[in-house]
């Protein structure tokens, strides 16, 4: 256990020394400022609309759309962070010779993986939580619109990024760093694309597209988590406005049902087991 912490500590110290966090903080602050500015512009424009004959609630529409967009951005940035913190954890580091001196110590391979996972997952989860909270605050303070289940959506977003960190660590056992980074980001993109197709399927009532999206969402649960996060975000927006915001700016909301939480936990544990079995068999 303390060995895993030592490994996580090395990864975190590297990020600090290499100014990874400095870059992330600066760029995220820029992202936040842009978001603030965009939100205030949008809410200014919609404040004049008032109630209209279609029954569209302009504030809810603007708020939900903006926050949906922010969630997408947050998840994307969190995923990039998770991937970059894990992409070379096994093969990449073995090829460069960084891994061998550590792994011959008594700590063992499973502890090493646990340390790398803990480091990457906690950093990217904390990042996602902070950025998401910032986006909710900005939307609420600037536009006066607060989402339905703030915490529920945030937890799902955080879980999604943890899933990606686990997948990236698994990939690092088989692929060298660059290949793994590309692979995981492409898998992430494919999941989001399937989600988008799903929301088109919802709009057009295409069962094929819906089934495709649902399958993808379960195979890649970060997608199911993201769609479910969007759902709980706008659960209290009803009527025509509700119908519109549920389509979402980047992938629609979707009820994943009560099995989502247990499935996500089982999935991460399964991926972790697979990672540790594959690593145990690997010659370095």
């Amino acid at each position: 256990m303390t060995d895993a912490l030592a490994v996580a500590g090395v990864a975190l110290r590297e990020s600090v020394r290499r100014r990874v966090f400095a870059v992330v903080v600066v760029l995220t602050a820029a992202f936040g400022a842009l978001y603030w500015w965009g939100a205030s512009q949008l809410f200014q424009d919609t404040s004049g609309f008032g109630a209209n004959r279609f029954g569209i609630d302009a504030t809810a529409l603007a708020g939900a759309t903006l926050l949906g967009l922010a969630m997408f951005g947050t998840l994307f940035l969190g995923v990039v962070l998770a991937v970059f913190l894990t992409l070379g954890a096994v093969r990449g580091d073995a090829e460069s010779g960084l891994l061998q001196p550590l792994i011959v110590r008594p700590l063992g391979r499973r502890q090493y993986l646990a340390g790398r996972f803990a480091g990457a997952a906690s950093v990217s989860a904390a990042y996602v939580a902070v950025v998401y909270a910032g986006a909710v605050l900005v939307t609420g303070l600037v536009g006066g619109w607060w989402p339905d289940q703030v915490l529920g959506a945030g937890v799902r977003l955080v879980a999604a990024v943890v899933v990606v960190a686990a997948l990236s660590l698994l990939g690092s056992v088989f692929l060298s760093a660059t290949a793994n980074g590309i692979a995981v980001l492409m898998v992430f993109g494919a999941g989001l694309l399937a989600g988008l197709l799903g929301s088109i399927g919802d709009a057009l009532s295409s069962h094929t597209l819906q089934r495709l999206a649902d399958t993808a969402a379960w195979v890649l649960p970060f997608e199911a988590l993201y769609r479910d996060a969007l759902r709980v975000l706008v659960a209290n927006v009803t009527g025509v406005t509700g119908a519109i915001v549920q389509l979402g700016p980047l992938g629609g909301s979707h009820d994943a049902g009560p099995l989502l939480a247990p499935w996500t936990i089982a999935y991460v544990l399964g991926v972790a087991t697979l990672t540790s079995v594959a690593f145990a068999r690997r010659d370095l």
């Binding site: 303390t2 060995d3 030592a6 090395v10 110290r13 590297e14 020394r17 290499r18 460069s96 010779g97 960084l98 061998q100 001196p101 550590l102 792994i103 011959v104 110590r105 008594p106 700590l107 063992g108 068999r281 010659d283 370095l284």
Partner: protein, 277 residues
């Protein structure tokens, strides 16, 4: 007492390549054994199996009685890989501190300073790895392997990047390790290194053990060469003690003597004979 390293019937196949084919080798506690062999002979593979990085196809390796790769085995060894890197952002002191923690060494700052001093990096504790030359990094690698006073050191070409002074430093370091009773398996291409410090030598070629023994014994038969008017006369097996008698005999036979040489074959000769294609 268990051998520091006991390798029995060890084989390793990489796809179609037989890196090791049934190697038996033992390193007694406190013994310094040199492992020689041409490029691709399987030296690094053997060491990697011993420290649990590579899984053998058959056979086994034990470190102080514990199967290679087990936590107990890993806890008893120090390893310097042939190709390794330390994170460039870290300082020498931080690297050693991390390995102290992982090796469960309670040596603290005193041990770190002592190890750096031992490998000739005293005063460089705060230096970052990325600002070190290759040889300095290799010295740090050796210091890392020594953390926690392991019972067995597996050093894979520890002097490949070192200058002549550095090689001398390592040589006296190896002697120091022997005094402390730490066993060493030393992979190297430097025959002189082995000849001077190793208790025993093992030579492997294409994955098989082709010669083993004390460096002096391995060097094989010596002899005496005497240059006479009728050409060079060779007396294999003869020693320095035989010289007066040989000369007297030749002179008695009416030969004129110009030069007498006592030939001591080097380890190099033995090595070249053992690994001849």
């Amino acid at each position: 007492m268990d051998a520091a390293l006991a390798v029995t019937g060890l084989s390793k196949r990489y796809g179609a390549t037989d890196a090791l084919r049934g190697i038996d080798l033992e390193v007694a506690p406190g013994e310094l054994v040199g492992l020689l062999g041409p490029n691709g002979a399987g030296k690094s593979t053997l060491v990697k199996i011993a420290c649990g990085l590579v899984r053998p196809t058959s056979g086994e390796a034990r470190i102080c009685g514990a199967p290679a790769g087990s936590p107990a085995a890993r806890g008893a060894l120090g390893y310097l890989a042939e190709l390794f890197r330390f994170p460039g952002w870290a300082s020498a002191d931080e690297i050693l501190a991390l390995h102290q923690r992982l090796a469960r060494s309670g040596g603290g700052a005193a041990e770190r300073a002592e190890l750096l001093e031992l490998v000739g990096l005293g005063g460089e504790a705060a230096r970052r790895v990325e600002t070190m030359s290759k040889g300095m990094q290799q010295r740090l690698g050796i210091a890392q392997a020594l953390v926690g006073r392991p019972a067995l050191l597996l050093l894979d070409e520890p002097t490949s990047a070192l200058d002549p002074t550095g090689r001398r430093t390592v040589r006296s370091l190896l002697e120091e390790l022997r005094r402390r009773g730490q066993a060493v398996l030393l992979n190297t291409h430097l025959l002189s290194e082995v000849e001077h410090v190793c208790d025993r030598v093992a030579i492997i070629d294409r994955g098989a053990l082709v010669a083993a023994g004390r460096p002096g014994d391995l060097s094989g038969i010596s002899g005496v060469e005497i240059e006479t008017a009728s050409g060079i006369r060779r007396f294999p097996g003869a020693t320095r003690d035989d010289v007066p008698e040989l000369v007297a005999r030749l002179v008695g036979e009416g030969e004129r003597i110009y030069d007498v040489r006592v030939v001591r074959p080097t380890l190099e000769d033995a090595y070249l004979a053992a690994v001849a294609p």
